[in-house]
C-alpha cells in the first residue's frame, strides 16, 4: 500500500490521502454498528479527472476499491477491507448545471441531497427522493443504493429520477448512459446501474429530474389505539385512489422515545400508533383528497387527527418522524436500523409477528416506517458490549427478515444489501438468479474489484461455475 499511496498522492496531492489508523477511523462504518472495518487507504479526489485517473491507476495495480459518499448507507455497503482503497467522493460536490426550463440538474456525485433541493428551490423546483439522511447523504450514494425516503410513495425512488450518468468502469473506461430527457440510449443501462451498490463502477456525473414544489401541502397526524387500525387506515387510503405524498407510521414506543427527547413534536404518547399523512398538489385536488383521507381515518377509528397547513406546523409534525432515529439514541446505546418490505395488506400480521420475535428474544424493537409502500424499519435497541444480547439481536434480525420474506416481502427496500444482508439473499433469490447477477456484474467488472464481497454471496457464483452449466 505504501507505494500505491505515493502514486495516488501524485494524483490528488498528499493532503488528500489518509493512511494512518486514526485518520481512517472515520471511514470504518456507515451507520450500521454491527459492521466495522478499516480500509487500507483512503483517497479523496477533488475532480472527475482525478477519479478517472485513480480508477485507471488501481486497474494497473489490480487493486480493489470501494466508492464512498457520506457513509450514511446503513448496510455496510461503503466499507473497504485492508487490501482495498476507499475512494471518498465528498469533495466532488459541485452542481454543474441547473436548468429550470428543462427541469434537470447535472451534479457531481458528492453533492449532498438536501443541497440540491436548496439550489433548486428559487426556481420552484426540488429533487424529490428524500432519504431521512438527506442533510448528509450524497447523490452518488443515492444512485448506488437506489435510495428512497418518505416522499417516494408519490414521487418514486432514485431510479425514477436519474435520467443519465457518466460512469467510470473498473477498468478506467469512461462512458455515458441514458439521455438528458430520460429515454434510454440503447438498453436501459441507467436502470441497471442505479442500485448496483458501487459494484459496476463509479458515477462521476449524475443528471436528475427536478419536479415542481407542490402549490399546497397539508400534513395530518392521526393517532390510533391499535397498530391494526392504523394499518387498515393505510390500506384504506390507498384503496380509495389517493396517493399521498407520504404515509408514515410510528409505533407507541417510537412516539414515546420522540416525546421524551429534545425532538418532542407533541405526538400523543398514549397512542399505539400514529400515522403521518401528507397530501400535496393543486389546492383544489388537496381539498378533495383531504375529504377522502379524513373520512378513511375516522372510519378506521383514529382517536385524534391534527392538521398542519403552515410550513412551521408541518415541520413540527415532521420533526418527530425525521428525528426518530436520533431520539432513539437517548434510550439505547446502539441501534440497528433494519429495512424490509412487505405487501401493505400484511402489515398488521407482520407487525404482530415482529412483536412476538422481540418478546421471544428479549430485545426492544421500535417501529418507524414508510407504511404507504410497506417499507418497514424495525429498529433494534441494544448494547454492543453485551455479547449475549448481540447474539439475540442477530437471531431477532434474521427472524424478522424471514417473517417479511414469508409474507411475500423482501429484505431491503432502500438501504441496500451491502454486507449486512448478504446472507439473506438466498432467502429471496434462487441460485440461478443469484448467479445471473454475478454474470451481469462480471460484464461491468470482470475482475470483481469494485466494492468486492458485497450484495451477492460469493458461493452463489462459485457453485454455479462448479456445476459447469454456464
Amino acid at each position: 500500500m505504501a507505494a500505491l499511496s505515493e502514486e495516488l498522492a501524485a494524483v490528488v496531492g498528499p493532503r488528500w490521502i489518509r493512511h494512518r489508523q486514526a485518520e481512517l477511523a472515520v471511514f470504518r462504518a456507515d451507520g450500521l454498528p454491527t459492521h466495522e472495518v478499516t480500509p487500507g487507504l483512503a483517497v479523496l479526489p477533488g475532480t472527475r479527472e482525478q477519479v478517472i485517473e485513480i480508477v485507471r491507476l488501481l486497474y494497473r495495480h489490480r487493486t480493489p476499491f470501494v466508492a464512498r459518499g457520506a457513509g450514511t448507507g446503513l448496510s455496510g455497503g461503503a466499507l473497504a477491507e485492508s487490501d482495498a482503497v476507499l475512494i471518498v467522493l465528498t469533495r466532488l460536490n459541485r452542481i454543474l448545471r441547473l436548468d429550470p426550463a428543462a427541469r434537470r440538474a447535472v451534479v457531481e456525485p458528492g453533492v449532498v441531497n438536501a443541497r440540491l433541493t436548496e439550489a433548486a428551490a428559487p426556481f420552484g423546483l426540488h429533487y424529490a427522493p428524500d432519504p431521512s439522511s438527506q442533510s448528509a447523504c450524497t447523490i452518488g450514494g443515492n444512485v448506488a443504493e437506489n435510495a428512497g425516503g418518505p416522499h417516494c410513495l408519490k414521487y418514486g425512488v432514485t431510479t425514477n429520477h436519474v435520467v443519465a450518468l457518466e460512469v467510470v468502469l473498473p477498468d478506467g473506461t469512461v462512458t455515458r448512459l441514458g439521455s438528458p430527457q430520460g429515454e434510454p440510449w440503447g438498453p436501459d443501462l441507467v436502470a441497471l446501474f442505479v442500485g448496483s451498490e458501487g459494484m459496476f463502477g463509479i458515477a462521476t456525473e449524475v443528471t436528475v429530474r427536478l419536479v415542481p414544489v407542490p402549490r399546497e401541502i397539508r400534513t395530518f397526524l392521526a393517532a390510533f389505539s391499535t397498530i391494526r387500525a392504523a394499518s387498515e387506515a393505510v390500506s384504506g387510503i390507498i384503496a380509495a385512489g389517493v396517493v399521498p405524498a407520504a404515509l408514515e407510521m410510528m409505533d407507541g414506543p417510537c412516539v414515546r422515545a420522540v416525546e421524551a427527547s429534545i425532538y418532542a413534536a407533541g405526538y400523543p404518547t398514549d397512542a399505539a400508533a400514529v400515522l403521518l399523512v401528507e397530501l400535496d398538489g393543486r389546492p383544489e385536488s388537496v381539498d378533495e383528497e383531504e375529504r377522502v383521507v379524513t373520512g378513511v381515518l375516522a372510519r378506521c377509528g383514529a382517536s385524534e387527527v391534527r392538521t398542519a397547513t403552515t410550513a412551521t406546523d408541518r415541520a413540527r409534525l415532521w420533526q418527530g418522524r425525521k428525528k426518530a432515529f436520533g431520539a432513539m439514541g437517548r434510550v439505547t446505546r446502539d441501534l440497528i436500523v433494519q429495512d424490509a418490505v412487505v405487501p401493505r395488506s400484511t402489515l398488521p400480521e407482520v407487525l404482530d409477528a415482529i412483536a412476538r420475535i422481540a418478546a421471544q428474544e428479549q430485545v426492544t424493537v421500535v417501529n418507524v416506517f414508510h407504511a404507504g409502500d410497506g417499507n418497514l424499519h424495525p429498529n433494534i435497541c441494544y448494547d454492543r458490549r453485551d455479547a449475549a444480547l448481540v447474539a439475540r439481536v442477530q437471531r431477532a434480525s434474521r427472524a424478522i427478515m424471514e417473517t417479511c420474506v414469508a409474507a411475500g416481502g423482501t429484505i431491503t427496500g432502500e438501504h441496500g444489501v451491502g454486507s449486512d444482508k448478504i446472507d439473506f439473499m438466498p432467502l429471496i433469490f434462487d441460485p440461478a438468479t443469484l448467479s445471473a447477477m454475478c454474470d451481469v456484474r462480471r460484464v461491468f467488472d470482470p475482475e470483481g474489484r469494485a466494492n468486492p464481497g458485497k450484495v451477492i454471496p460469493l458461493r452463489s457464483c462459485r457453485e454455479w461455475r462448479a456445476g459447469g452449466i454456464a
Partner: protein
Amino acid sequence: MSDHIAARLRESLGAVALTQSPGGRPRVAPDTIENAAGVLALASAEGWSVQLEGQGSWGLPSATADLVVTTTGLDTIPKIAAADLVATVQAGVSLAELNRKLHDAGIWLPWDPPGGPDRTIGGIIAAGTAGPLRLGFGPIRDSLVGCTIVTGDGRILRPGGIVVKNVAGYDLTRFQAGGFGAFGLIAELHLRLRANPGADRTHLAHGDRDILTRAGRGLIDGGLEPASLELLSPALGAHADWTLAVRLIGPDAAIGAQAAALHGLTTLSWMELTREQASAFWHQAARGALGGPVTLRLGTLLDGIDATIDLLEERLDSGLISAGAGTGSLRWTGSASAETLIQLRRITAEREIPLTVERAPGDVLAAVGHFGAYREGVGRLVAGLRGAFDPQGILQVPTDAEPHDA
C-alpha cells in the same frame, strides 16, 4: 430444416403447441414457463436462431430465424392482489384482457402503448413502449416490480419481487423494459397497479403546432397535473390542425377543479369529449402508430419538442406524429429507408436525443438496429450483457446497427 426442428421439438418436449409462422417457419407456443425454458435450452443446444414474439400485432416478422417462439401460450393471470395494488401476469396476456380482469377488482394498469389493444404485456415491456399516459404514470419500467425471465439457454431467472419497493440485488427487472427481448424471454411479470380513478376526462384543443406546444408548457408550469398532455399531428388527430389532448385522471372533485383550471391557464378553446368519444380518440391515437411500416421513438427535453418535430418533418414527413408536451417523448410512424434513418440518427445524436426504432421491416431493422451505434464504451457492455443472458447467441434481436453503420 423446419421439419427437422419440429421433429426435434416433439421428440424432446412431447406435445408442444406447434404451428407455422406466416413466413413458413415453425412457431412454438410454450404454455408453461418450464416449457419455454425447455424450448430455449433445446434451441441453444441445437444452435437454432430464435425470434421471440407476442401477439405478432406490433413488430414486423424477421424472415431469418429458424424458430419463432411466441408467448401467446403464457396467458394466465396467476394473482391479482387488489389491496396491495399488484398483480402477477404471464407475458402473453393482452393489455386489454388484463385491464378487463383488473377492472372488476377496482384496479388498472395505466398503460396506453401505441398499437392495438391486443398487444401482449410481454411485448409492450420488451419494446419499452409507453403512450401518452407516461406523463402521469411514468415509463413502462416504473410499473415493473419483478419478473420471470427465461434466458437464451433455458435458465429461469426471478429477479425483483412482488412488493413495490425493493433494492435487493441488481435491478434485472427494470433493465428488461426496452431490451426488445435481447436479454431473454420475458415470461411473467409482477406489475404495480393503480386504483380505478373516480374521474377520467379528456379535453381537446386545435390550432397551430407552436401555439399548442406553448400552451402545453403553460399548463405544466401552471401546476396542472394531467395524466396525458399529448400533441398530435393533423393526420394522427384526424383534424385539419394539430391537436392538444389533455387527459385528467383522479378523484372526481379534484379533476373537476383541474378541468376548470384548463381554461384559466390557456386562451385555447377547449372541447370536452364524452366518455365514449374519449375512449375512441385515445384508441385511434394508439392505432395510428400502425399506419406505416416504421415507428420511431425519440426523447427530447421539453424546450426541444418543436425543434425535434421540425427535424422529423424535414427529414421524414409530417404524417403520424405524437409528442408528449409534458414528457418530451416523441413518436413518428411512416415509411423511411435505412439510409434516411441512419442520417437522421446522426443528427439526433448530436442533439443528445436518442432515437429508438420501435418497429420496422426486417431488412431496415437489420441495417439500422433498434438502437443504432452506441456511445463509447456502451457497445462492449451490451454485447457482454447479451452474452450473459443468451450465451449461445440464439436470440435474433437486431439491437445494433450493422457494423458498417457503426
